[in-house]
């Protein structure tokens, strides 16, 4: 065998090794203890696969395959650009902004997959010869799925970043537009398949339609549902990459792509379940109201007792056990530092303070963890739901900050949108204080009888201001 052939074989083996690395990495990321190491294993596999590819190209060139020197410029420049950008943003992004960044990375991944198909199709157009049906199908699927993820993920990212209003944007007749686009795509695709001849125009139509579809599909979905949507689009990208693998007939792309496509789909379902929503329900826009819930005023069933900062301060200062229950509102108000200050102040006075972290408090899994980690709240103080729930009974004060659904006792009864979701047993505490701006509803858009519980005092304020006031009041004691 020629050197080239030997190298070709070694590279294929290296690709396999890389793929195995991805699988091992993913499975290790299933549990907190091994997650970080798993990510490293996966990265290692990636490094191997990429290095092998570079070597392959090099050897091909030295063995007289026509590879223009500019190819190397493209590769080096491209890697430098993309790598630098990725590294910089990933390093500097605030923890709370990570989901939208992940969404961006997902967008470019999908984009790259689509570009591979487009480039391949251009070659076919130049050649002009009839295209094999399967090649045709894979190319079209790659372009469609890749483009949808590209624009869809960008919109999702924009919504989380607040560049695009998080509230569902209902374009008049939006549904129709979406359906029309889908129709156009399908029809053009079918024409391509039937007449095997390459047709640039039709391909561009498909491309345009898919890109627009990604936008119209994502816009109407509430910001709160974005984590699920991003996960779904992530699974899409995996599929697109697998399709690209079929197009350029490369096994590692197929394996890794299918792996992400499948595991991403499962993960999406887990995420939706965790905040008991159905994925379908989300994609066609369910109650995921996003921001618009906040601020909306609605009188619940019973009488509400409003309470002042000074009274709360006294309760807190002379309590023994205080449990802080952070929610989405804490994130909106960016009050993580304020809450840490108050907690530290109380601890100096000998109060034992813990944070009760509901798995789906906030708008992304682990939202509260990242938020409080960012404010350097000591990790041991964060208690997961199952650990803290028994302790509420012994808590003198439960301080609920911008949390709503995750404390709603209605979840214990069937028939409400949150039914079945396990909640924090805040109502067990001896006394309850809730900081929020109004009687506005939460993500699920329902009233919270906790607020009308006679043990509950409502401190109506923006979380940050309210906490500042409390800190001041406690200091003043």
């Amino acid at each position: 065998m020629t050197t080239l052939e030997i190298v070709e074989i070694l590279v294929r083996i290296a690709w396999l090794v890389g793929a195995v690395g991805f699988v091992i990495g993913l499975s290790r990321m299933n549990s907190p203890a091994t997650a970080r190491n798993g990510n490293l294993v996966s990265a290692g596999g990636m490094a191997i696969a990429i290095a092998a590819t570079a070597i392959l190209i090099l050897v091909r060139q030295t063995n007289g395959e026509p590879i223009a020197g500019v190819a190397w410029i493209i590769i080096v420049v491209g890697i430098a650009l993309g790598g630098g950008l990725g590294l910089y943003t990933a390093r500097t992004v605030k923890m709370t902004a990570m989901p939208q960044l992940v969404s961006l990375f997902n967008a470019v991944g999908g984009g790259a997959a689509a570009l591979i198909a487009i480039d391949d199709y251009l070659h076919l157009v130049d050649a002009g010869a009839a295209v094999r049906i399967d090649t045709n199908v894979f190319i079209v699927l790659d372009i469609i799925i890749g483009s949808i993820t590209f624009t869809g993920s960008i919109i999702a990212s924009g919504k989380l970043q607040g560049l695009i209003p998080g509230k569902p944007i209902q374009v008049p007749g939006g549904q129709l537009v979406t359906i029309a686009l889908a129709a156009v795509t399908v029809v053009s695709a079918l024409i391509l398949f039937v007449t095997g001849t390459p047709n640039l125009l039709l391909m561009l139509i498909i491309l345009a339609a898919a890109l627009t579809f990604g936008v119209t599909m994502t816009l109407p979905i509430g910001g709160a549902d974005m984590p699920v949507v991003i996960s779904l689009l992530n699974s899409f990208t995996g599929t697109a990459v697998a399709m690209a693998g079929f197009v350029i007939n490369n096994p590692v792309l197929i394996i890794a792509g299918a792996l992400v496509g499948a595991s991403g789909a499962i993960l999406t379902k887990l995420m939706a379940d965790a905040m008991n929503r159905s994925v379908l329900n989300i994609m066609i826009g369910g109650f995921g109201g996003g921001d618009d819930a906040a601020g909306a005023v609605a009188g619940p069933g019973g009488a509400v007792r409003s309470i002042g900062a000074d009274d709360v301060a006294i309760q807190l200062a002379y309590a023994q056990h205080v449990i802080i229950v952070p929610g989405y509102g804490l994130a909106v108000a960016q009050a993580q530092h304020a809450v840490r200050e108050l907690a530290e102040l109380l601890e100096e006075r000998g109060v034992d303070v813990k944070y009760a972290i509901h798995p789906v408090a906030g708008r992304m899994p682990g939202h509260m963890n990242v938020l409080l980690a960012e404010a350097n709240v000591p990790y041991p103080q964060l208690k997961e739901m199952d650990d803290i729930n028994p302790e509420f009974a012994r808590a003198d004060v439960a301080l609920v900050i911008g949390a709503n659904d995750v404390t709603n006792p209605a979840a214990r009864r069937p028939g409400s949108p949150v039914s079945g979701m396990p909640i924090l047993d805040v109502d067990q505490a001896k006394s309850i204080v809730v900081i929020k701006r109004s009687m506005g509803k939460g993500y699920a858009g329902i009233d919270n009888e906790l607020y009308t519980n006679e043990k509950t005092g409502m401190l109506f304020a923006d979380a940050k201001d309210g906490l500042a006031a409390l800190t001041a009041a406690v200091k003043a004691l």
């Binding site: 696969a49 590819t53 790598g83 990725g86 887990l270």
Partner: protein, 113 residues
């Protein structure tokens, strides 16, 4: 399509199918706090598209192809590098937890029984 072409296609589809099965089986009960990191981790993996991007770059002769492959390479690399770095940052949260959540297979088997 000729017989051999279809045979080759089925070979690839077999690999595709098996990889899907692995993907499904590999995600077990994940604590909700790991959902985002896991999503991000999977996201980095499809950065493997960089391999494809590099290969089309090597084959790019026309300016348009070269432009497309340049963008593709840049995009894919961003996906790879950014993805792994940001995932790692997310997972640093679980540092202290490592000691708390060790589970030897032995325990599992018995716990399950």
């Amino acid at each position: 399509m000729s017989f051999d072409e279809i045979q080759g296609l089925i070979d690839l589809l077999t690999v595709f199918l098996l990889a899907i099965l692995v993907g499904i089986a590999v995600i077990s009960k994940v604590p909700a706090t790991l959902h985002t990191p896991l999503m991000s981790g999977a996201n980095s993996i499809h950065g493997i598209v960089l391999v494809g991007a590099m290969l089309i770059a090597a084959g790019a002769t026309t300016p348009i192809s070269q432009l497309l492959s340049l963008i593709a390479v840049a995009f894919a690399t961003m996906n790879v590098v950014g993805g792994y770095v940001v995932t790692d940052r997310m997972l640093q949260m679980f540092r202290k937890k490592v000691v708390v959540v060790p589970k030897p297979a032995g325990d599992d088997a018995e716990a399950a029984s």
